[in-house]
């Protein structure tokens, strides 16, 4: 496991290979696009993704929380994938056991009712903390720093013999700092490397500086 540290607009962040970002000064763990329930959703439609992978998301969350021991965990949207299913109940249980402050900044997939968890989960459309704006969708009119998700960024690396590898990445450009999708079985969207100010790719269990 190897992480990378980076500083944007005077704020210090540590990028973890599981896809999470630790905001040092705020003692906050930022996680985007977990898409809980996606595996179950596919299985409901007859696509046999190994059910053992469902627990995987929770293992990853526990690991990264144990690593940083944050005061706040903020989910930058798309925490849930679609209709409620068993994975949501697992999440409710997990929240209850966690006993920390958890905030969800709403995303387009978060349509499920949150009444089940309102005791454990703070829900808001966006969160302004000082000069930093936390949202799900990337904001184009942000003057300072917008940390967001939604895109599931990745970059394409070319090897010899027409080999190409797509790696999820942390992508910073034009005042937007986009986090990779945390969830285990999420798709990816290719970002142009040359237009970025900073790109960090996740390869195996390492975060690698690309530019």
């Amino acid at each position: 496991m190897s992480t990378q540290k980076t500083s944007i607009l005077g704020q210090d962040f540590e990028l973890h290979p599981c896809g999470a970002v630790y905001w040092v000064t705020q003692k906050m763990l930022l996680i985007a696009d977990v898409h809980l329930g996606k595996v179950s959703h596919f299985r409901k439609y007859g696509i046999a993704i190994p059910p053992e992978s469902i627990a995987g998301n929770f293992e990853k969350l526990n690991q990264v929380i144990a690593n940083y021991d944050p005061e706040v965990i903020c989910f930058l949207g798309d925490l849930f994938h679609s209709e409620s299913n068993h994975e949501f109940k697992m999440f409710a249980q997990w929240l209850c056991d966690l006993n920390r402050r958890v905030v969800l900044v709403i995303g387009n997939h978060d349509t499920a009712g949150y009444d089940d968890y309102c005791d454990y989960l703070e829900v808001m459309p966006s969160w302004q903390i000082g000069e930093v704006l936390l949202t799900h969708h990337p904001q184009t009119d942000c003057d300072n720093l917008n940390i967001c998700g939604h895109i599931h960024p990745c970059i394409l690396l070319r090897g010899t013999g027409r080999q190409a590898l797509r790696l999820p990445c942390f992508y910073y450009a034009d005042n937007q700092f986009v986090l990779p999708a945390f969830g285990l079985f999420t798709g990816m969207y290719e970002m142009p490397i040359d237009r970025a100010t900073r790109v960090f790719a996740i390869a195996d269990k390492e975060v690698v500086v690309i530019s």
Binding site: Y45, G46, A48, P50, G161, G187
Partner: protein, 814 residues
Amino acid sequence: MNRGELFEIAEKWFGEQGWKAFPFQKQTWTAFLQGKHGLLNAPTGSGKTYALWFPIILHIMQRKKEPGLKAIWITPLRALSVEIKQAAERVLKDLQPDINVGIRSGDTSSSERARQKDKMPDLLITTPESLQLLLASKGYDKTFRHCFAIVIDEWHELLGTKRGVQIELALSRLKSLSPAIRIWGISATIGNLQQAREVLLGPESEALEKSVLIKANLEKKIKVLSILPDKMESYPWRGHMGLHLIDEVAPIIRRSKTTLIFTNVRSACEIWFQRLLEKYPEFAGEMAMHHGSIEKETRLWVEQAIRDEQLKVVVCTSSLDLGVDFAPVETIIQVGGPKGVARFLQRAGRSKHRPGEESVIYFLATHAIELIEASALKKAAKNTVVEDRVPYLNAWDVLVQYLGTLAVSDGFLPEEIYREVKQTFCYQAMSADNWQWVLNFLVYGSQSLQAYDEYKKVIIDENGRYRITDRRMAMHHRMQIGTIVGDAVMRVKYVGGSYLGTIEEWFITKLQPGDAFVFAGKKLELYKIKNMEVLVRKADASRPVRHAAWMGGRLTLSAQMSELMRSELYSANTGSMTEELRALRPVFERQRRESIVPSDTQFLIETFKTREGYHALFYPFEGRYVHEALASLLAFRISLLQPITFSLAYNDYGFELLSDKPFDMQQVLDNDLLSAQHVHDDLQRSLNATEMARRKFRDISVISGLVFSGYPGQMVKTKHLQGSAQLLFEVFREYEPDNLLFLQAYRETFEHQLEEGRLIQALGRISNQEIVWRACEKPTPFSFPIITDRLREKLSSESLADRIKRMTAAYMKE
């Protein structure tokens, strides 16, 4: 009517056409009418179609008329159906006018399909996929009840592919539904004909015992003519695709009625078409192009135009390979090495292929070293040394799809189907555990029952039948059958409306609206992308353009071809050289300045340094797949000696390890790094194996329904189920590494892709040779194709040509 009387009718009919029945045709009629199964080994244009249509029609005359499907003719390519139908109708018109013939394939209209559902034609011509679709229809047992014959045409093409496995499974079902059915295969000559029969009929089966192998034995004289350049370049490279000889090709086209120019890849096909058109506009009205990505209407048009002798030249790929009776094709030109003897001979057979006439095929090497291939092909044509088609074993993905097909129509009882499947060649070694694994996969989506799991696909009904009852799932499954697996493709159409064909997604993503490119022989401008379709307009003729390209599967040199090539190469050291090898003298001379032309007792390794780094070249002449594996293997083993990373390159003749640091080749040799020991483990540990398995897994996941891919352009609301095979691979790797489909990807990689068996043999051969290591000052001619291939990745074609010109000039200075 007895057999004698039936034969009289047949021979009389032949006589009326001005023909005489061949011995192999009569042998086939006899065997068929005796109720036997069989494999007929007959090439294109030999009269194989009548060898089997006749006894089928005679048999109909023999018995009382029942309604419904009587015989099925399976052809792997839709293009052939029309020919086969016409052949049958010709006979029926005179002998049995009440009997009708129908075609059912992806090209069949929905109104025609509805008509067939109501009343099946007596004789049905269809594709392997459409046969599967028939099994996916409710009440299919009634459809096949009176079917007494099934003919699998071009069986050699299906053998060794997953479609061949689909046929094996379909036959296993048909044998139970219609116990009297006669199974016949028609195959071109391959190395393992007896095994081909075994695969068709089932190993150790009753059918196999009651079968015959009939060889048409028609001596087809094939003349191979190489188109040689006046001046041979000393440094061969694969840039111009043989186009520098286009002026040699034009006169050949002019003096023939029809010429087919075969290229190996679609992009070469497009480029050749374009250049011919530009340089020889006299051919303009009578020229066409044909390859797999061109819209079906256009392809059908081209095929018909060839039959009607309206075209003077057609540039094509293997898309026109299968045996349509294009009698008017006079000349065949093969551009670039065909990679396999059987393929080459088949193509040669396309020219003037009325039985008995000599076939002429021209070979145009795209770079000097390919002339060695030409030389080898000449020998091959003389001795008919042909490749085996290696059948699949334990293709779990196809089995999953097949069981889904049965579940979607009438459901199945596992014990019954298990017995049938176990008797096929592919699944003969399937264990009860394997079978149960597949059933669990279908019903539970897992090998262990999970609490709270909502998986639903195949259910077990109250009678113990396994079925898919969900209508949407059934529809998806039917759409999935016969999906052509390949890179994601997008349909290309004019803004005005008509479709041109399909292009691979990665190529389009490199373009911006307004960019121009050539596709389907036309200069087009990208207008915009909408709904997975590429909208284009005609581009200005004067604009600089790039040609559409495809990633498509590159063929490798077959084991037979590479053996022939090696022996040709070795003969360059003797006095007896063919005309092609003699033309290569300038290349050999320059090669011998710093290096050697290896003999059969030598294995050549070269090292040199350029501004790109330190090159190490190896020349096993064993085909690109084996070289890919060997390169990976060697790179891995060297990295165990010292920390070093390599860039790998390979082609059919050799491979290269390129590094920015020098390494000691002597160490490589002293440590016996070319040993055949531990190959399997080392291959597994080298990165490439995983990468390749990932790619193989893509096909497997589509076939087994893990990844849904509808047809391009079809408005299917399954965006929410779009998964990616890459992601799936990772999830399986981490959470279910003993999943049979996941393991299959690795198995296929080692057996088919890396050709592990062949690789080990190659290493064995090398260990008996003297290793000759030449440390050179600069690149040698043999290395040139490989090192310039790498530059192709980085440079545009103009700068590439430029760079190569400069390199050549520099190296020639001596």
